[in-house]
Amino acid sequence: MANTPDYHWPPMDKRRVMGKRISRLDGIAKSTGAAKYNSDLKPDGMLYGALLSSPYAHAKVKSVDTSAAEKLPGVTAVRVVAPAGTELQWAGAEIAYLAARTEEIANDAVRLIKVDYEVLPHLVNEEDLSKVGNRARPSGEQVTGDTEKAFQEADAIVEGNYGIPVITHCCLEPHGQTIAINGDKAEYWPSTQNVYGIAGDIGRALSIPVANVHVHMDYMGGGFGSKFPADAWGIQSAQLSKESGGKPVKLFLDRATELTIAGNRPSVFSKVKVAGKKDGTLTAWQSETWSTGGVGGGGLTAGQLFPYVFLGVPNRRLNHTAVSTNTAASRAWRAPNHPQVCYITCSALEDLAAKLNMDPLDFFVKNIGYAPEARREIYKYQFQKAAELMDWKKNWHPRGDSAQGPVKRGLGLALSTWGGAGHASTCKTTIHPDASVEVELATQDLGTGTRTMVAMIAAETFGLPLSAIKVKLGDNSYPNSGGSGGSTTIGGVTSSTRKAAVNALQKLFETVAASLSVTPDDLEAVDGRISVKGNPEKGMSFQMACQKLGVNSISEMGANVPQQAPQEGLNTGGVAGVQMADVSVDIETGIVRMNRLVAVQDCGLVVNPKTAESQVFGACIMSVCGALMEERIMDQQIGRVLNPDMEFYKLAGIGDIGEILVHMDIREENDKRGVIGLGEPCAIGGIAAIGNAVANAIGVRVQRVPLTPMRVLSALEGRTA
């Protein structure tokens, strides 16, 4: 190749596919049910897996007797994973897995397994730090500046307790897989965020070459950070298949198990003290925080992240304690640490603004200088835009709606940030002589629209309609494109696709340049034609160009290498977002109703505004759930989750979400930063904004979310909930 091809994104005004509101390619298949999820599959001869789990939060296994289960006709294999002597650390911890011909037999067999336990003392609740005894693991104090002095010199100080509980991922499609092991080969259909990497878990566990583990996943029903490893259920199902003559074994967790052991977001509780000046300058932040993410403690870093985007505040004193509880381990949850840290920070700052008799909008803007420099101006713009959409200046009132009647209205706001630079990704693009184009990469479409984004980038690059592009993903025989975590997917896959497509196109240019008596660099691909730049008449159809390939296709690779990406400019990281909530609270019932949630979100170059908005809509709905309804409720007496079901693990329905107004912050200066991930940043600020809106409506702070009638009424009564 003569010189490095130009991978840059076309300028905004030259794009024909990117930046357009394109409906996701698999939308129809998904909404009609034609799309088959791995949990829908039923390969021939499939066996059903089932598991036995601990009813105790903390116990030692004294003995496990599987003989009756093994004898049950139809049971093909039984595996004990917690043999005598094992210390079980949470209710729901797995003890045995088995496979059987039917689901019914499998479940019956599980009940035939006899386990003797030595029950040990447990702790499952962390909200009251004084009751956790030796389970507290303080991580040491972090001090910046002089908080004592700042408090002495402050014009206003507020102290508050804020709490945000453990919630679960509650994936619509539960964790699980179907897997078949034959000899040293595996066919594996998991529900995963990690199509390429997950094969390694199976390969290692079964001592078979990773290259022999074939992973398939066309669609998946939600992961939110909880679906990276193969997990015990994957590995044990593989072993069960192996022990059952290689028949596929299907095991997807039931709802109760899904909510109990398949991941959760750590809690954070806090005592916060903040100080400010009359003019609204924040001068000091002090927080004592504690949290649990299971036996390991967890949530450790959360304590170090205060006061969130205002890290530049000169005086800070931070103390964090991880609490080890006998509950299942936490997993990454859509923006790890951020919703919690944002909620506590924005609540305390809004309380300070209220004490200073300031509009929080002015207060937050006033202190935006404490935010990283790169984002200050973006935040200011976004606050203004969100305020416009909310008609903030007209609708905001000081704390406590003075309107007559029991229904009080209030506004609240929050701001958020995230990284989201593209992960390492490789992509193969093939142009066939019949002019069909294939793009292959071992990524996954979690429902975010990855398939559609890849097709759009290829279509843009080749100057072809979307329908001309065949995207192949969800299969680990394609080039590695990394797991989908940290909102890194879109940056990774769009960059690698762009580069692979540009490379392939370059080869096509080289093939046809001579016949047009120009050099490859003189050519461009626009509107289904390969033609000479500045002279569109001189050229040929893409079809015709491909015919010149004879019997050979062009296959080119493209890679996103995170270290190089910033120079290339295809993707970067670091985004800003602002959320504003408008709520009505019935102070007689304590019920909070959403009127409107506004989200203004930047994510650099927005590949498809429509699917981007969809991401934000989904995140806003999650925020409503987290703010108003969602919590894992543990009982200290029995050590178990009381609400591992869809009745009392409450989630919002359509009638609960109110109006959601999303504004993607699409501007030239943001676009120049390249593509940045979006899944997580938009799921951060909503809870804080809603909490603040409720405080604004009713005139008092409800200390912890979710803001249920119980807590709202208690707060109104002046008690803590």
Partner: protein, 325 residues
């Protein structure tokens, strides 16, 4: 779920013959929206399941000389679209509409709603109707945010039916038929607060079928239901109040005030009723009656908010009823 024999008789006679006289042996299956969950969770492990949806005589809703007959297998959807219920029993209509899931409305039946088991999370996790561990109820020291505020144990669950308070306020009776005969029981008496783990929360006998609900005519009776529900989407009410007021002139002649989700049975608020009788429905009277409704309430450690909700529910139900012709 434990294996079971399935029977789908077409006559009441055959259905009754298939039922055993001991709990645990057989179960009636109506819409199955609760029964199937109970079986999946091994809370019910019947050896035989008797589907009653094929029994024609148990269905339908119709006017009678006395008022309204609701067949046990009439679905929520049939109740919701019934014109008489809509116009004459707005209290019942709004209780029906409170169950917002189309799936449950299509499958769930009136009889099933009255016979469904409590949703207490200790019961549903296998700790028995009274939620006992080591001879002690788990509720008082546990998470009792959704539990009873009346009744003082040993049962602390709340009656889950949202039709029952409306129907009791309207003076409904249920017909219970067994192989040895039939009895008609005022709905209020149908529900009992179990005193031991071996008793049930209704008067229903194992070999009885609830065949129909008789609702007296309500023309001229001001009636309304107010439910406090956290969510708009399918959710259990936190507290409900149903009222039915027989006016004599401009004052209340007879009053029925029944709370739901506050006790192991629908809770007849007698003091609220007394506070209304003989009075005109002024805001003050309504306020006083609402407060009287929670006389004797004994909230648990985590549910005193429900006392407030009960007051509000009664107040709002009365306000709504008082606005009706």
């Amino acid at each position: 779920m434990q294996n079971f024999e399935y029977a789908s008789p077409t006559t009441l006679h055959d259905a009754l013959a298939l039922l055993a006289s001991k709990w645990g042996e057989t179960d009636v299956l109506a819409g199955g929206t609760d029964e199937i969950s109970l079986m999946k969770d091994f809370l019910h492990t019947p050896k035989r399941v008797v589907n009653i949806k094929g029994v024609k005589e148990l269905g339908g809703i119709g006017r009678t000389a006395q008022g309204l007959r609701i067949g046990a297998t009439a679905t929520f959807d049939e109740l919701a679209s019934n014109a008489s219920i809509h116009s004459e029993y707005p209290s019942l209509h709004s209780a029906v509409m409170g169950v917002t899931s189309p799936q449950i409305r299509n499958m769930g039946t009136a009889g099933g709603d009255l016979c469904q088991r409590p949703r207490c999370w200790y019961f549903r996790r296998g700790f028995g109707l009274l939620g006992m561990q080591d001879g002690k109820s788990l509720v008082p020291n546990g998470d009792n945010r959704y539990h009873s505020i009346f009744g003082n144990g040993p049962a602390y669950f709340v009656n889950p039916s949202s039709l029952a308070p409306a129907l009791i306020a309207l003076g409904a009776k249920v017909k219970l038929v067994s192989p040895s005969g039939q009895r008609v029981v005022p709905l209020e008496k149908f529900f009992v607060s179990p005193q031991s783990e071996s008793t049930r929360e209704t008067a229903l006998l194992p070999n009885e079928i609830l065949t129909e609900i008789e609702v007296p005519a309500a023309r001229g009776i001001k009636n309304a239901t107010y439910e406090v529900r956290h969510k708009e989407a399918l959710d259990w009410p936190l507290v409900t109040a149903s009222v039915a007021l027989q006016m004599s002139g401009s004052t209340v002649g007879q009053a029925h005030v029944v709370l739901g989700h506050v006790a192991p049975t629908p809770w007849v608020a007698t003091e609220a009723q007394s506070a209304l009788v003989g009075k005109a429905l002024s805001p003050d009277v309504i306020e006083q009656a609402a407060k009287a409704a929670v006389a004797g309430a004994q909230p648990l450690s985590g549910n005193s908010y429900k006392v407030k909700l009960a007051i509000v529910a009664v107040k709002r139900a009365l306000l709504e009823a008082s606005g009706r012709a």
